[in-house]
Symmetry: C2
């Protein structure tokens, strides 16, 4: 997975990863890795700033808790986040259809 490909689609996947219930950052990484058969293995330097960004945007809400001595920050989707997720899903479908039309569609005939 090339890095540039991901740009603009990470937020949608993070929101989707939180759709099934609150998760902390490390668990999000593992959920995405497991959910994609290992194809998506994001570094912490990608995840943690992205979660902060989503939190600042009001799409997710975080809270600290301590489990077996380790501090964890659990994030849950806010109502705005659920709406954003629905929008991002629609965006993705539209985007995927557009790119597929160009890449998978036959070569554009020369209009000349």
């Amino acid at each position: 997975m090339r890095a540039e490909e991901l740009k603009g689609h990470l937020d949608a996947m993070l929101l989707a990863a939180l759709e099934g219930g609150p998760r902390h950052g490390y668990a999000v990484i593992e959920a995405l890795r497991a959910g994609t058969g290992g194809r998506l293995d994001l570094p912490t330097g990608t995840i943690y700033p992205a979660l902060r960004r989503l939190e600042n945007a009001g799409l997710i809400a975080g809270s600290w808790s301590v489990v077996t001595g380790r501090r964890r920050r659990y994030y849950r989707l806010t109502p705005a986040g659920q709406r954003a997720l629905a929008g991002r899903r629609a965006d993705w479908r539209d985007f995927a259809a557009t790119v597929s039309a160009v890449l998978e569609g036959g070569p554009c005939p020369d209009p000349a």
Copy 2:
């Protein structure tokens, strides 16, 4: 189409737009617009630098010509560009499958 979504996928679409034969920049814009039903309407400030980038990378080759008094730069795929296009197509399929698995797949069950 949000801007960030496109990142990393433009090159593949430009290569695909040139697969049917040489085209100049302005014609590439129109071909992509027509091929996607107007969903992809890229500004010239996106296309021209991108074509330069692909040319510098050796994936396309450009040559000037003059048609009805207007100068045009026609680009054609190089053999390396054809190989790159095949690779990018495979990348796209893999990427699309990965994102779809996360967004369209059911919510990841809580392992707890």
